[in-house]
Point group: C2
């Protein structure tokens, strides 16, 4: 999961905790042949996972890429993690596309959102 | 916390769970006067928090900014959240620098890292 050149520019909202997130940070290799197509397919697939809530992505040109996926519960994340096509893409990623990456899977305990025009999400204690 | 033009390009490592992370996603306003200085000061301050583990940041030009801060435990995150100078910077952020943002605070249950030259971090089940 990654590049969203076409996505509207707005952070994913704050959901009611508890929910899960997966932080995927990566540095890519020089040769990104096939990455864009696979990435688009992964975005299509993850949206079909029951309990998938959304995704944030940013990439500094020539630098770090950070993707955060949000899921309603651990089962939703497990469904995504064990998807056969996703697993094949992960293998391809290790072989071809990623110089290095880190994955952090975490349970959200608190969330908060701010918007210049509207304040949403659970209030911060 | 945000821009790291000088940071080495490598994802923060996978630590031994449990640990905490804070995902801060934002879209900035046009006028970023004073942001760079405050951001540099915040990076200096957060590094002094006992239990601070590191930070990942990426920003798509003209798009979303994603910052992830890692902390050993909830106390470390609370110390950072309640720091007086950080609080003042947060207020300034809402007034001047952010069009919108979302904060997700979460406890890491699982982590994994990959590097082309070396595989680090706890093994994935």
């Amino acid at each position: 999961m990654s590049d969203h050149p076409q996505a509207p520019v707005a952070p994913v909202q704050a959901f009611e905790p508890p929910y899960y997130l997966a932080v995927f940070t990566s540095v890519k290799t020089e040769d990104q042949s096939g990455y864009r197509e696979t990435n688009a397919r992964m975005e299509e697939l993850v949206r079909k996972i029951p309990g998938y809530l959304g995704m944030d992505h940013a990439q500094t040109p020539g630098g770090l890429s950070v993707t955060v996926g949000y899921f309603r519960d651990a089962d939703a994340l497990t469904a995504w993690r064990t998807d056969a096509e996703h697993r094949a893409a992960q293998r391809r990623g290790r072989t071809d596309w990623y110089e290095s990456y880190t994955l952090h899977v975490a349970k959200v305990e608190r969330s908060h959102a701010f918007s210049r025009t509207d304040s949403t999400g659970p209030a911060q204690p």
